[in-house]
Every structure is written in C-alpha cells, then in structure tokens.
C-alpha cells in the first residue's frame, strides 16, 4: 500500500470512528429526551449501531477513552463535549469510566443496555455511588468492556513477604514434635454421609434463598438501626444514627409501613430517656428529618391511609416532635376536606405537648392556617394558650387579632388591662366583637372599663364608632354611669355648636341612658327631652327611635 493510500485509509477510519461516537452521543441524547417507543431514538439507535458495526468491520475492537476534555481514540480527540453536562461524555467521565471498548461481537441489545445505563445515570447531578461502572459490571456485556478509575489499582502491589503468619515465632521444628490432629471428620465413617448434600438440603437451600429474596429490607434496616440505637451508650453515637433513622422513618411513612414508623419513633423516645436533659435525641432526630420531604410524605400518608391504620398514623404523629404541626399545616392546604378533620384532630393532640408551634403558625400569611391555629389554641386548657391568644390579639394581622379576640371572648379571658388597646383596634370587626362581648350582660367591670375609655379617649375614637361604645356602655352599665352620661348629655350644649364630636357624644349618652333604662336614667332622659337646645332633644328622639327599632329587630 502506498503512503498516500495509507493516509487515506487512516483518514477514512478516523471519520468512521468520529461518526460512530457522534451517533452514540446523538442516540444517548435522543433516548434521554424521548420515550422509548418514539421513532427518533429508535432511528438514532439504528444509525449508531450501523456506524459502530462499520468501525468494527475491520475485525478489531474499537476502544474510546474518556478524558477530562473529551473522548479520544488512541490519541486523537474525536468527540468534544458541547457543554459541561454533555449527555454522553459527562456521565462517563463523572463516574470514572476511563475507557469503553466495543468488541466485534457487539449485539444490539448490549448497545441498548449501554445507552440505557448512560441515560439513567446521566440524569444524576450529584456523584453517585451506584454508578455506571457497577451497572456495566452487573450487566456482564460480552461485546462491551470498560475500565474505571478505581479498577486501575493505583495502590501498591501484592507483597507476600509482608504477611506474618505466626505471632509466637515458633521454631520450625515444632511440627516434628507435635501430634497431628486427626478428628471427627477424618476419622468418622459417617463423615461422608454427614457431608452429602441431600435433595432435602437442596430444597432447604432454595427455600432459604427464595425467602431471603422476599424479606422486608426496610424492616431489616430499621431493626439494625434500632438495635444499634438501643445499644448506644454515648449520646454522640445516638446522634450519629439520627439522620439514618429519620430517613428510614420518612420512607416507612411514605410506604405506609406505619408499624415501622412507630417502632422507630418509640426507639428514639426510649433512647432519649437514657440521657439527662430529655428530648435531646428527639430534637436531633427532628433536625435530621428533611422537612420538605416530610410534608410530602405526610400528605401521601394522610391521603392514602386506610381506616384500620388511622390509629397507628395518629400515634406516629402524636409521638413525633411537635414541630410536625408545621408540616401538618402545610398539608392542610392541599388535602381534601375529608382529611382535614384527621389533621386537625392530630394537631389538637399535638397541642397538648407544645403550643409554641401554634404561635409560630400565626405568623404565616395564610388566614386559614391562622384561624385553625387560633381555634386549636382556644381549645387548649392551658394558661399558656390564653397568653398566646392575648398576644395574638395584638398581632399585626387583622384576621389573627379578630380570631384571637373571638377565642378570648369565648374563653372569657380578656383581662381589663388588655381591653384598652383592643377598643382602639384598627379593625372594625375586632372592635365590634369586643363591644358586643363587653355588652353581653350587666357588668360593673365592663361598665367601668368602657366609661373610663370614653372619658379618656376624647378625639381618639372614630366618630362613626362612638355611638357603639355608648350603646355597649348602656347595655352593660348601671346607675353608676348616670352622672357621667348626664354630664355628656346635658352639660355641653354650647360646645356642641362648634364640635360635631360633642354632638355625637350627646347622641351616644342618650342611647346609653336609654339602654341602662333605670328610673334615674329615664329622669336624665326626660331632662334631655325638655332641653332648650335642639340637638339634645334630637339626640333623645333618635335614641328612642333606634331603641324602638332594635327592640323590634
């Protein structure tokens, strides 16, 4: 062959090799993008197979080397990755595949397997330990071989002399002086029978292997972790186990293996008892739980649970760290009404352990969750709950304040010193609720509060609401307020000429007196009816009308 012919031949071979690798890359890409039955990956695969077969037709195998900057054949770069996450080069390089060799006996199914493996691992971003090399090894492809970084054995070689068999440094003549062992197996005539594998043995072996293939690996792992935790005497050892227990806990919940979840939680709680400063482990366990994952897991568990397992799930959730309330609250947003009751029930159970989480729920911007939290706080018998509600009554959120006040009213737990700021609340709803609460019945305390508030809040109350305050005072009030109301009604006729607010006070005082309804109150009102100033008389008249109207209602 002439030199020119040889050059042409080499060039042609190089083109074929380039074509083969490029078509392999295209196929990997197509397989990653399209479903398996799509025509594009299928056509691409056929092209790739043809290209590779063309290279292999020379009778020699075809080896590609994967380096940090591309794919080489011998020392020629034949494929440069288009980008860092190139679908062919990246997974091979990342997983430490140094070379791939296609043999002349390459079959289509083997090529497909290689492509499937690359696609499967190509989608992983993090370095994976269950990697391409292991999959290729497991697949035992006769037409494709590979070398991986760690199979290159860059460590020191075998040194037979480095092994010391005898610790005693015995003389080599010892053997001549000692009696050789001639025991049971050698001496017994029955040994052969003992060692013979019978059909029954073979059947047992098969059964053992079958049984082992079916064993519950999750349960086994949980048992190992629990047993290790049980036997840990050091808090650091226990803490080290927590991420694994947390992970298995989430897996068991997600798979509906609630008995395992319960088992693991109990183990954590029991282990906690071993160490002073309780709940250290549960805290560590909770820290280790992936919260995003947990919400998803809980959502699945709650929505798929079958009724016999409900108590188990409740036990799990009520045993878990109280912070799970936040995950449950997250679940509330995306589950059907049917499952709400279960979640809320669980949250109520959890409230008996800790209320701090409910206080934090109030900071969420979700009014529904806030309302649920306040409702549950309202159900709690703990004083801490009332304190949280009282604090919530000053929450920036109008809704929180409103619901908190509502609960406080229900609990009759609004202390006098907390009333002032509520009477001044920006929210009409809050104010209305409070006034309605204060005016529910005759109460000297409420009367005093309202009267005091009215006396000291000149100019601070919106004129629209002022009448409501007087009405509330009237409903809960008594003759004790008559001097104040009489003064408001009758003593400022001239000021009322210039100040609209004074006129409203007059109107309010008339309404309050009418609601007090005592003889003394009526006397004051009769004075108002006879007043020489028209707006006092008018106030009396409007009070009568509104009273009449509300009575009818």
């Amino acid at each position: 062959m002439s030199a020119i012919a040889m050059i042409e031949q080499v060039s042609e071979n190089s083109d074929l090799e380039k074509d083969a690798v490029n078509s392999l890359a295209a196929t990997v890409k197509a397989c990653a993008l399209y479903p398996p039955n799509h025509s594009i990956p299928s056509e691409s695969f056929n092209r790739c197979l043809v290209s590779l077969k063309r290279v292999l037709s020379s009778g020699a195998s075809f080896q590609i080397s994967i380096t940090k900057d591309g794919i080489y054949v011998s020392e020629t770069k034949i494929y440069a990755p288009a980008r860092q996450d190139d679908p062919l080069w990246f997974p091979l390089f990342r997983d430490g595949i140094v070379s791939v060799e296609f043999k002349t006996n390459l079959s289509p199914s083997e090529l497909q397997r290689l492509i499937d493996i690359i696609c499967k691992h190509g989608s992983l971003n993090a370095e994976s330990e269950g990697d391409i090399a292991t999959e290729l090894w497991g697949s035992a492809l006769s037409g494709i071989t590979y070398r991986a970084v760690d199979t290159l054995f860059d460590m020191k070689g075998f040194d037979a002399g480095s092994f010391k068999i005898n610790p005693h440094g015995v003389s080599k003549d010892v053997i001549l002086e000692s009696t050789p062992y001639n025991g049971f197996l050698n001496a017994s005539p029955k040994s052969k029978d003992i060692l013979r594998l019978t059909d029954a043995d073979t059947a047992l072996l098969k059964e053992l292997i079958d049984h082992d293939n079916k064993r519950d690996k999750d349960a086994d792992l949980a048992d190992v972790l629990i047993s290790t935790l049980d036997n840990s005497e050091d808090i650091a050892d226990c803490n080290h186990l927590m991420p694994f227990i947390a992970q298995e806990f989430c897996v068991s919940l997600s798979d509906g293996n609630l008995h395992l979840s319960v088992k693991m939680l109990r183990a954590v709680l029991e282990a906690d008892l071993k160490f002073p400063g309780s709940n250290l482990l549960n805290g560590a366990f909770w820290t280790a739980v992936n919260k995003t994952q947990l919400t998803q897991v809980l959502r699945t568990a709650i929505t798929t649970i079958k009724s016999p397992h409900v108590p188990a799930l409740k036990e799990v959730l009520s045993s878990i760290h109280p912070d799970v309330i936040h995950n449950l609250a997250d679940c509330l947003e995306s589950i059907s009404a049917k499952h709400h009751a279960f979640v809320i029930d669980t949250m109520v159970v959890l409230s008996s352990k800790s209320l701090a989480q409910f206080e934090r729920l109030l900071n969420r911007e979700n009014t529904y969750i806030q309302k649920i939290a306040i409702t549950i706080l309202g159900m709690s018998p703990k004083i801490e709950a009332i304190k949280i509600l009282q604090k919530a009554a000053r929450n920036p959120s109008e809704s929180v304040r409103y619901n908190a006040v509502l609960q406080l009213i229900k609990l009759k737990a609004i202390p006098p010193d907390k009333v002032y700021h509520l009477l001044n609340d920006r929210s009409t709803g809050v104010r209305e609720k409070l006034l309605s609460y204060l005016s529910m019945e005759k109460s000297k305390i409420n009367e005093g509060l309202l009267r005091n508030f009215l006396e000291n809040s000149d100019g601070n109350i919106h004129p629209v609401d002022l009448v409501d305050y007087y009405m509330a005072l009237g409903k809960c009030g008594s003759d004790e307020s008559i001097p104040y109301l009489s003064k408001r009604l009758l003593n400022n006729p001239l000021t009322a000429l210039v100040r609209k607010e004074t006129r409203i006070h007059i109107k309010g005082a008339a309404i309050a007196l009418l609601n007090i309804g005592t003889r003394d109150a009526k006397e004051v009102l009769s004075k108002a009816a006879r007043s020489y100033t028209p707006w006092v008389r008018a106030a009396y008249k409007r009070a009568l009308e509104s009273k009449y109207a509300s009575d009818i209602v």
Binding site: E129, G130, A133, T134, W137, G138, A140, A148, D150, T151, F153, M155, K156, G157, F158, D159, A160, F163, K164, I165, N166, P167, H168, V170, K172, V174, I175, S178, P180, Y181, N182, G183, F184, L185, N186, S191, I194, L195, L197, D201, L204, L205, L208, I209, D212, K217, D218, D220, L221, D223, V224, S227, T228, D230, N231, S232, H240, F244, Q247, V251
Partner: protein, 495 residues
C-alpha cells in the same frame, strides 16, 4: 523451579532419560508399522527398547507418559522441550493424539518378560487409528492378546491428569492463563486490603468515606471467583498477625463470595455479600489493641468491649457514602455475624425469626477464618480440618447446617492450605480439592525440609491415587497441622 530432566543422555543418574525412552518406543512402534519383526532395523530398535525397559525396571514399577493441556509428562514430570528432544516430544504428542489417547502406562518388568507380545501390541496401536473409537478398540485387542505390560490412558481414565508431578510442573501447563489469573487475584487481594485499610482509617476519624474503590475490588474478586475460585481461595489462606483484622476481613469476603457462588447467588448478591464480608469487622478497629492482642483470657468487661464490634461495624459503615439501597443490603450481614443461627449470640435479637442469608454465610466464613488464624491468645494453632470439625459440631446451633455442608464441600474436608502428615512420613500442603472428587483425598504438595530448615516444594501428588500392585492408596493422611506451626504461609506455596 521445575526439576530439570536430562534431555539427551540415556541415563541421568540412576534413571533413564525420558527422551531416550520415548525415542526407543516410537522407533520400535513406527518401524513395526513398515517392517516385519525379523528385519534388521526392527531388531536393532527392539534391542534399544529392551535396554530402555530393563533400565526402567530397575527404578520404576511402572512408567507413565501423559499429555495434559498439550504438554507431555513423563512419570508425572513435565518434559521440558529442548533443542535435542523437541522433535521426540512433538512426535509422542502426535502419536497419542492420533489414537485419541491421553497417555500410556508401561510396566517395564512385565514388558521385558513378554517381548514376544511387542509386535502385536505395536500393530494394535497402529491399526486402532482406523477405528471409530481407537482407545476402546485398542484396549479390547490388547486385553484379548493378553498384553498386561501396557495400559492405555484415555481422557476418561481417573488418572488422565498428571497425579504426581512436581508442583511447578503443574503450573507450567497453564502458565500464561493461570499465572495471569494468579497475578490478577494477588492484585485484587492486595488492593482490597489497601482499600479496606484506607476506608477504615477515614471512618475511624468519623469522616465519611467513598465506597467505590471497594466496590471495584469486590467486583474484580467476584469475576475471578466465578471463573475459578481456586486462586482466591488459595489467597484466603494468608494469615497476618499484625494486620489480622484487615486480612481476616478480606479472607471472609473471599470465602463468603465463594460460598455464595456455590449456592448459585447472582452477581449483584455476591457483590453485597463481598462488601458485607469486607466490612463485617470494621468495628474492631475501635477496640483497643491491648484487648485484641491480649494473650490471657479476657475479663468480662473486656469481652463486653469486644462484643460491641458488630454494632460498631454498623456505625462505621453508616459513614460510607453509599446509596440507601446498597446500605440497606450491606448492614445486615455485619450486624448479624455473631448472632448465631439459633439467635443466641450478640447483639441480642429482638423479635427476629431467623438470620438473613448473608448473616448465615458471613458467620460461617468468619468463624472458619478466625479459627484458622493464629492468634496470640491461642497457643494451640487450629488446623483447617480441625476448624471444620469444631464447626460441624455446632451445626444447627451456631451455623446453618445446609450452608455449612456446602462450605465444607467447597473447601474439602482438608481445605486448601492444610498441612497434612502422610503415612509415608511426608508432609503435604493441600493445594486443591477437585470438584466432584473425593473430599477426603485432596491434591497435596509434598514438602521437604532443606538443610537450612526451610520447606521446599518437592512433589505434587493426588492422594486418591492407588498403588496398582496392592490396590490400596499410595498415601494416607495421618493427621493435619496448622501450617503456621511450621512457619508456612500456604499461599506462598500454593500459588
């Protein structure tokens, strides 16, 4: 080094040179194909053959020539083809191949007495080539002619393979393939050991460690074992006092993978099993060396400390950067390896019905290797057969009885690396227990002591070989020793 055989000189010391005997035999046989026994040439060659037989009869009761793997063996020794005998060796191999024979066995004394049978015997050997089953036809003809001084060895014969050949000679036949495999196995062993040490050091510092290197080495070991477990089982006889835990772990991995292979586990399961074996004693590095190497009996407190190692192994394995699916598989074996078949061991089992398959396998491999490893606290070294004896007594209690049976069948009653005393006064190191052969009669490497008290390889013998004249075995086993007792590291001799 293989023993050198004199190639051309008729006599080397007291023995006749194989080249000379073969040449005289071929000459007489081939001449008789062409000429009558009365021809001068035939007579000349018959005299030469007679001289060779007479010389032989003084030293050997029988003389065997065999072909194995394309190599010629004379009296069990490989005939090294040299410049002068190359042609004879080639011709002899062709002679046997044309007749579909693996070899011939001569009884020289008988042959000398029955010279009159030579022509007919040689003609039978010539004519048989035309028959459809040359060995069967020839054997029948020889028998009917009353020829007792010549035996035909066929591939079916129990002694078709060289049974008594110097150890180096047996390795030669498969020199290239076998030595490559041995090198690969040695590398795999060394690298697994190194990788294990590396990982142990990292996790003992409570740092996470990758597992990929160990995966690769275990995968390599599995490939080797699936091909032929002999080499790695040979390496598993390595014992090391200083690095006991690491060497023991690699040995347990090899033994476990081999046992797994025997019971037909798939590659992926073998991989898991291998990793279980490698890491089963990882927790031992947390035990103070004073306890591990304490010559006296351990106190209760010290023993309790030792008992923590299974769980410590689990704890340390949790520092491996392994995917959950792999971790899920590999923790159980190390966790269970001291729990015992009847669950009476440690750590105490809670509510478990039985040990997993991996736990059962690892516990067998672990105890076997531990028993056969010389330890400072054990003054009496336990020989491999003795270890198996001890184990079989605990079958059904400590060990799964069926798996233990498979294990013993795999290793043989005299496992590879056992040092045997023979009734001939010789010492033999077990090098192989052939599949399907008598597990009580392995192949051993006869060792002899040199003047400087070193053990030297002398002869490879198959203990199932019979003495033709008496019908009894040529050699019997008197008993076994731990090779460490003689300072022997078996792998140095076996591979």
């Amino acid at each position: 080094m293989p023993q050198t055989l004199s190639e051309t000189t008729p006599m080397a010391g007291d023995r006749i040179a194989p080249g000379h005997f073969l040449e005289s035999f071929l000459k007489v046989t081939l001449t008789l194909q062409l000429y009558s026994e009365t021809s001068a040439l035939t007579k000349k060659f018959m005299v030469e053959f007679l001289q060779a037989l007479e010389a032989l009869s003084k030293t050997d009761q029988e003389t065997a020539i065999k072909v194995h793997d394309g190599r010629l063996f004379y009296q069990g020794e490989k005939v090294q083809p040299g410049r002068s005998n190359q042609k004879i060796v080639k011709k002899t191999i062709e002679f046997l191949a044309e007749r579909k024979l693996s070899g011939l066995r001569f009884f020289p004394a008988l042959a000398v007495k029955n010279q009159n049978q030579w022509p007919s015997a040689c003609r039978i050997l010539y004519r048989c080539m035309r028959e459809s089953d040359p060995p069967a036809w020839a054997q029948e003809q020889l028998s009917s002619s009353g020829v007792l001084w010549l035996d035909l060895i066929t591939s079916d014969s129990p002694d078709a393979n060289p049974s008594e050949i110097p150890e180096a000679a047996e390795q030669q036949p498969s020199a290239e393939g076998n030595s490559l495999r041995v090198e690969e196995a040695k590398n795999a062993y060394a690298h697994t050991l190194e990788a294990l040490k590396e990982i142990s050091q990292i996790v003992s510092l409570e740092r996470p460690s990758g597992i990929r290197k160990i995966l690769r080495t275990v995968q390599g070991m599995i490939d080797l074992i699936m091909e032929d477990d002999f080499v790695l089982l040979g390496l598993s006889t390595i014992k090391d006092y200083d690095d006991y835990t690491y060497v023991h772990s690699v040995n347990v991995a090899i033994l476990s993978i081999s046992l797994g292979t025997r019971i037909g586990l798939k590659k992926e399961a073998l991989e898991t099993l291998g990793i279980c074996g490698i890491f089963h004693d990882l927790g031992k590095i947390k035990i103070p060396l004073e306890i591990i190497n304490k010559p006296e009996r351990l106190t209760d407190q010290e023993y309790n400390e030792v008992k923590k190692h299974s769980l410590n192994s689990v704890r340390m394995m949790l520092r491996l950067r392994a995917p959950r699916t792999l971790l899920q598989e590999i923790l159980l074996g190390p966790f269970e390896h001291h729990q015992k078949y009847d669950l009476s061991g440690y750590p105490a089992s809670t509510g478990k019905a039985s040990l997993s398959l991996y736990g059962r396998i690892i516990s067998i491999a672990d105890v076997y290797d531990a028993l056969t490893s010389p330890r400072i606290y054990r003054t009496d070294s336990i020989s491999p057969p003795q270890a198996l004896d001890l184990m079989i007594r605990k079958s059904g209690k400590d060990f799964d009885p069926v798996l233990l049976k498979v294990f013993i069948n795999m290793l043989g009653v005299y496992p590879i690396g056992s040092l045997l005393k023979l009734n001939t006064g010789e010492y033999g190191l077990v090098v192989k227990t052939e599949n399907n052969s008598d597990p009580f009669r392995p192949k051993v490497l006869v060792l002899e002591k040199t003047s400087d008290k070193q053990w030297k390889k002398r002869l490879l013998v198959n203990l199932s070989e019979l003495n033709r004249s008496t019908g009894s075995y040529k050699r019997d086993i008197v008993g076994s020793y731990h090779p460490g007792l003689a300072g022997i590291q078996p792998s140095e001799y076996i591979l």
